[in-house]
Symmetry: C2
């Protein structure tokens, strides 16, 4: 405490370089999150839920009860793969005829993003191949970027798509079968069967990322690939599907809680990886999730959520029809959070459009960020869950103005 | 929904190999956490706090208030680097004369383990060099293992230790100056100055991992290397020290909350890395931490914590003196959570001892897990914070029996 260091005025020594991948990262997620701070901006980017749907008072009570009645589970270090009671509940919740799950099939994660990161950590050596549904979820590309994988794009549903050829030799295949982010596409039952068959035949792991699995606005939910895989060898699950779910869309994202369901050898590898990533997930979030599931909160809030989001999907699509039918092509998605719209005019560059749109007071996600090569600049992802119908209509008006201005620039 | 898959009975295809690092991982942390489930075992391994010190009812009320009064901050996606109010509070808390910190100097992390993982993610290409205080924290070795670094051991305080030679050409230096895990050693003020000078001269980043910074049982806390570094160029901090703190020891570990304080360019890089790891830390944990700091809970519980842990440190050291003075060498640490004890007899292999000890009903941490090469088998780490004095005495009795048995085996 008696030191008297002298300020020195020398040029700082050269610092070590950051890892190479940082030079290739994009800051679009930061742009989206920052855009959310501007109250007049209509945010059609991002994938944010409607906060008014959250049962705040009930969650406040659950949080207090969790700490008061379970101080060890909430406040102490917990087991790396998650609290046993929560793993058991997830196992029970996803079990189905032919699909027997136990806690050894379940890892609790710090939300869906960590599940993606951990799969990369246990499966990707530099240069390894991922067969990825195209266009692909930006967060998955972010999670795997430091491991410099090669991407083999899977255009599921396109003429000539061959799942066996797509999966053979890849470390894993990555899919979002329910209302893919960003395309909003529902992978059909026949396509699910074909992907599962290819995974069993080739041995390749098949990642089924399912954040939007409850958000069906039209029709009944299709069976999970996890369940289809189990039907090929009924009993305790040991197959190639790596299923990922989270609380973020069903309840709230801020608790940062998700889960992986997979063969025990995969769960064990992911747990070893998690040990060196964050040791264990928040005990408070885990106990709150357990309490919410036991009280069936996700089931109780779902009808209102579906009604709200269905109305907003229709409002966005109707506004697109009114203001942009001549400029964009899109399909009304049967669920999820996004409409994927492609420009008819090849001169419309959605990277340039983003900046025009921000100037008009609307934010979109340009297609380049969903392409591992960054080359696709002809489309955009539009979110409909965050804003009420009148704001969606206003956002599309602003987007139309931005598109006209961009095209006039030439 | 009309599919009728036929169960097929074929040998499963060969699965892709897991990444190579998994073959080199150890499961000792799992062993420790599992050992904690056996109520009769005296757990001297691990680094667990005393749960009776936690203000459970007050934390339960804070949790409910956080959700009720701040639903957006607790339940929605938050900014990647952390909630602004919490970053501001950490900046203010660690500012000192000459050390000006703003939120741009602060990243909120999912506890200390994530801070280590993110530093590896932004600084380590395969084969990069880490200058690491030796013996080294097991969790740091776990965090960096997938990136296959080279380790240059730093024996701070040993004859001939030259900080400039140690740091030159390394991507970063890793130190735990306050009561190092595992050695319990306090890095002296002169050694801190020398390390800081070497970091400024060489440009190498200097990681100051400080989970035990409040746990001084004798004497006054030494200044942080962060503060010493700032004194060399007073003002807004932009120096080479990367300081890591967490709630785990000061309050509770289960909330999984920590922070990094560093130059803005480092914070920006770490935030980009965090985006692909877990997007943001739990909003509920962040608001709970903010409430706890504002109510000065860490300061209020500290005197009882210090009294409890000081008594336990003395009980462990006294028991070692009574039962093992002829077999082990150790020093009474001035703080922290651990005593590091080295066997006088070179035949005493602490990896073998661990299994003997578990059979006797006591768990220790063998020195091999704190050595990147796994070669040091002559010492052990003993924790004194989890158990009351009589259990510590019983644990040392059992350890003495295990040591005698191991030596008799030959």
């Amino acid at each position: 405490m008696t030191s008297q260091p002298q300020p020195v005025d020398t040029a700082p020594a050269r610092r070590p370089l950051f890892a190479d991948w940082l030079a290739h990262s994009n800051d679009v997620t930061s742009v989206f999150l920052a855009a959310g701070q501007n109250p007049d901006l209509v945010n059609l980017a991002g994938g944010l839920p409607e906060p008014a749907l959250w049962p705040v008072e009930e969650l406040a009570e659950l949080a207090a009860e969790a700490v008061r009645n379970h101080p060890t589970e909430t406040l102490a270090y917990g087991p790396i793969p998650g609290l046993p009671a929560l793993r058991d509940l997830i196992a029970q919740r996803f079990s189905a005829p032919g699909l027997e799950l136990s806690r050894d099939n379940v890892l609790i994660t710090t939300a869906g993003m960590q599940a993606l990161e951990l799969v990369g950590k246990v499966l990707l050596e530099p240069g390894a191949t991922i067969a990825a549904q195209s266009p692909a979820y930006l967060g998955a590309l972010d999670a795997w970027m430091p491991r410099a994988p090669r991407y083999r794009p899977m255009r599921i549903g396109a003429d000539g798509f061959d799942p066996h050829r797509a999966l053979a030799g890849a470390q894993f295949a990555y899919t979002v079968p329910n209302f893919s982010n960003p395309s909003g596409r529902l992978v059909t039952l026949a396509e699910r069967h074909a992907l599962v068959e290819a995974a069993h035949d080739t041995g390749t792991w098949l990642v089924e990322d399912d954040p939007y699995g409850v958000l069906y606005y039209d029709g009944n939910p299709l069976p999970r690939m996890l369940t289809l895989s189990a039907a090929r060898a009924p009993g305790r699950y040991d197959g190639p599907v790596v299923y990922m779910g989270s609380l973020s869309k069903e309840l709230t994202p801020g608790l940062r809680l998700g889960w992986v369901i997979a063969a025990p050898e995969m769960i064990a590898a992911l747990a070893t990886a998690k040990q060196g990533s964050d040791m264990c997930s928040s005990g408070l979030s885990q106990m709150l999730a357990l309490g919410a599931f036991r009280r069936r909160i996700p089931e109780r809030i779902l009808p209102q959520m579906l009604a709200t989001y269905r109305e907003r999907r229709d409002a966005l699509c109707d506004a697109l029809q009114t203001h942009l039918a001549g400029h964009l092509d899109w399909q009304r998605p049967a669920g999820g959070m996004f409409v994927w719209a492609r420009a008819r005019d090849p001169r419309l560059d959605s990277d340039r459009l983003l900046h025009r749109a921000l100037a008009q007071g609307v934010c979109i996600s340009p297609s380049s960020v969903f392409d591992p090569e960054g080359l696709d600049r002809g489309a955009m992802r539009l979110n409909f869950t965050l804003n009420p119908p009148d704001r969606l209509e206003e956002g599309v008006r602003r987007l139309a103005a931005a598109i006209h201005a961009t095209l006039e620039e030439g």
